[in-house]
Subunit: 528 residues, 2 copies
């Protein structure tokens, strides 16, 4: 040890372990630890894993709900020099098997709820993997309680892999991305420097109470558990997501800061208990997919302060943030301003910057010190991701004169009709402004004459009358055409009503499935 | 260029250069630039330096006041891969010569006010150094205006030296410390993550207006110009410090965030115009030396929101921060909580941690990713600084149960009397609570019987009566002895009144000079 100071996850604890000894980490249903106990438990877990044969550079998988245990995995496993594989428990058994056979973890810690899944796929494991069943958590407590709190967490190269997980697009096998200690420490600083510098009650502050509402297997809970721990915040872990429990915890534990995808927020506000709980001190970061104007309006009626953040599995994920409650219209844009150190460009296919005119769209490409270096064992995918020295987000957007970014679509979801590119997001915003529309997706369906034509897939509110909604929707679109905001090609050709919109395992609209379903329907109606 | 992303000073600009194109950088007397113009000028300066023969790894010295030009030096010189030597213009000609002959800059940019100094010492330069006189700034404008705004700032190893300067203790020659790109970028993130996460109107936020009041040659203005630029803040540069001008700028430019040593704050509040200016929206970081209770009280009467920060030239400087306006007494301590990633310990001479009991003192030692790796060309000094793998601050303090730090003294200023260590800071706080005392220093004077005895050196307010003050001071000390807060050995043996307290070039009390002066006086009185 000398004047060198590598960026390691254990350094995230240096401040909070001193200043927050008596601060609480709460885990539903009945665990309360202070930071002093928490750091002692990291030693116990590391010793327990060592006793099972885990050493530096090995891989530890976890299948568990969002509890204090997950926070312990986040720290203890990388701190001992091993890599943490956060297994996405929402994937199909076949996909889970694929990710395990691809990552080859040496050991997997498994909650009782996922043991049936493990039993189902275990015989197809292509690796020697020790399974540690932890029951409903009681066996975990028993296991780690046998070990000492004292563990000498080593120092090593900051570029060593700390975490890895798999991202599922709508095509192909899940792709593995990994992050190093250096990247996670820098991302944590980036989150604090990006979210902390909002004044007043915006952003993330030392007096916030934190509760994640993004599954912790998903991009390490967007990195916020690391940021909350660095600040020494009071933290609340909700266990398996249940709207009633979450609302109760927000109330009883005075939670002020969470992050989730729009679907989770919508689910909470739909719950009858949402009216019984004071949500006016709650700040929520929305990410993962676009926030509809209607959900934004509903949240603000509850007094919830919304921020929108933009990022993806490959970007750790933080890229940009916007304060949706700000009175400054420049920061109200859904995508906002890039985080410190994020070099974000909107470019043409040959990598020329488009003008920052708030109109011209292009692909969003980025550099930052916390982007994944590629897909594990997938050179072709990695090269595509990083072509021309920038990470290609696959998102389309524009930059306003003031420098704020607006994502308008996924590159593959842009609807190309009548010689124009139409943003599906813009169309979805128009459609969701109709009362009676609960959720909506705009997709492009191949058309010989026009290239593609617009189709809406709509989930109605219970009491809505489909025919009236149809008239209302078409009227709204025509109004926006007359205002010059969209071209006449953007008026939907057809509207389909469905019970549920197809979603991916992380809750994003699955437009690939929708396009297939609509095409099947069209074929059938052609046949009939 | 690939997925690697070194931490370079040019990355600090990535965010602000996009989002703050129209944000202003104001420089007294009459310069107003927006960030777009500012970044263009960095290209001009880099091209102009290149034309003078400056290339990567060379050294550029600067002797200038705190203007927009200094901010340009901070960015353009390191960004072109050269090292910036910020010459301390307050040193004696002999010391300036020493630092120049030690650092051997290839070129020095010199403001007209420092040309006489350069003329005086130039013949003793032991290096080939090109002098670029810039007049009062007009020649600088002329010089850089001849070059293009376009410069391809290279990428290189993040560990390359970006800045260097000399720190003057009270003994020996000035010692050179340097910082790498990586260290400065991490320090900038540390400042945002440390100061940004205060809620409400505390700390540093996106809507602040920044003006430095610590000379920019001193530890690169404590790193705040980099932090302000990363946030894209409106910035105001005061030029040569003049109380009237500074007060006017705070008012007219709506400055909300500054940093300075106590002496500068005191000087501003003493100025008659301080009553004419609204200072109630002004936040000030106090560092460099301890803030007296009386100055803290005066500042709060003006409605100024004070933070105290702790650090030193060798630590870049940020180590800890406290919010002195907080209602939480835990954060009111003058030293506060350590910054993110700062591993701070209070230890015995054999490196054992003292208990966090709020009483037991020891030396403060630290690790952080932004500490200087040593003194340039001074192996012995570097080894002492970094003995046992921690940077030794030379400061004495204790840690409270809640984890907050309190610095109580400089190791070398602790007064050892009657077998006890007495904090000179505690004694100075007691003394400064007497009305009539403007400034005070407590020092230890060798004494055969007791080891050392306490002597106060006092600067009185104009209308104070020395004999009354003496009675008042001794009464105050006896009260604190009776309350058990200090030992009876702490009652001063003698009180000296002086016109000015001796200070170092950066405004710190120079107790070495005081001890010498008092000893001389004693000798004389012994002789007489």
């Amino acid at each position: 040890m000398d004047s060198e100071y590598p960026l390691l996850i254990k350094q995230i604890l240096t401040k909070s372990s001193v200043m927050s000894f008596s601060q609480e980490i709460v885990s539903n249903p009945n665990v309360r630890l202070n930071y002093h106990e928490f750091t002692g438990r990291l030693g116990r877990l590391a010793n327990s894993l060592t006793a099972k044969g885990i050493s530096e550079k090995m891989r530890v998988g976890v299948m568990d709900w969002d509890t204090h245990r997950y926070l312990e995995y986040f720290f203890a496993v990388p701190m001992m020099g091993a890599a943490l594989h956060t297994i996405n428990v929402r994937l199909s058994p076949k996909q889970v098997l694929y990710t395990i056979n691809h990552a080859k973890p040496d050991l997997i810690i498994v909650h009782q709820d996922f043991m049936p899944l493990i039993e189902e796929i275990k015989s197809d494991f292509e690796c020697e993997t020790l399974i540690i069943p932890i029951g409903y958590g009681e066996k975990y407590e028993e296991w780690i309680s046998r070990s000492s709190t004292s563990f000498n967490f080593p120092e090593f190269d900051e570029n060593r892999t700390a975490t890895l997980f798999y991202t599922t697009g709508t095509t192909g096998d899940p792709k593995g991305v990994s992050y190093s200690h250096r990247q996670l420490v820098l991302h944590t600083l980036g989150l604090l420097a990006g979210f902390g510098v909002f004044s007043g009650n915006s952003g993330l502050h030392r007096d916030d109470v934190y509760m994640p509402l993004t599954p912790l297997f998903h991009v390490h809970g967007w990195g916020f558990p690391y940021a909350a721990t660095m600040l020494g915040l009071r933290q609340v872990y909700p266990n398996r997501y249940d709207p009633e429990t979450i609302l109760r915890l927000i109330d009883s534990e005075a939670v002020t800061f969470s992050h989730c995808v729009p679907t989770v927020l919508s689910m909470l506000l739909d719950h009858p208990h949402s009216k019984k709980v004071n949500l006016s001190r709650w700040k929520v970061i929305i990410g993962g997919s676009a926030l509809s104007k209607s959900l934004q309006r509903r949240a603000s009626e509850f007094g919830i302060r919304l921020h929108a953040a933009y990022g993806m599995s490959e970007t750790c994920p933080f890229l940009t943030v916007a304060d949706l409650s700000s009175t400054d219209p420049d920061t109200q844009s859904q995508t906002g301003f890039s985080a410190p150190l994020v070099d974000l460009r909107v470019v043409t296919p040959d990598m020329h910057d488009v003008p920052n005119d708030g109109i011209t769209t292009g692909e969003i490409v980025v550099r930052a010190p916390w982007l994944t270096k590629g897909y594990m064992g997938n050179l072709k995918g990695s090269n595509d991701l990083w072509s021309n020295g920038y990470l290609h987000t696959g998102d389309v957007g524009f930059i306003r004169e003031n420098g704020s970014l607006q994502v308008t679509d996924r590159l593959k979801d842009v609807i190309k009709t009548g010689g124009e590119w139409i943003s599906s997001l813009t169309l979805e915003n128009i459609a969701s402004s109709c009362s009676g529309v609960e959720e909506v997706a705009a997709i492009g369906i191949p058309n010989e004459k026009w290239g593609e034509r617009v189709v809406l897939v709509v989930k109605l509110l219970n009491n809505a009358v489909p025919d009236l909604i149809r008239q209302d929707l078409l009227r709204k679109f025509r109004e926006h055409v007359e205002l010059g905001e969209i071209s006449k090609w953007a008026i939907p050709d057809n509207i389909f009503y469905v019970e549920q919109l197809p979603k991916t395992s992380v809750g994003k609209l699955d437009k690939k499935v929708m396009r297939k379903n609509v095409l099947n329907l069209n074929e059938k109606s052609d046949d009939g």
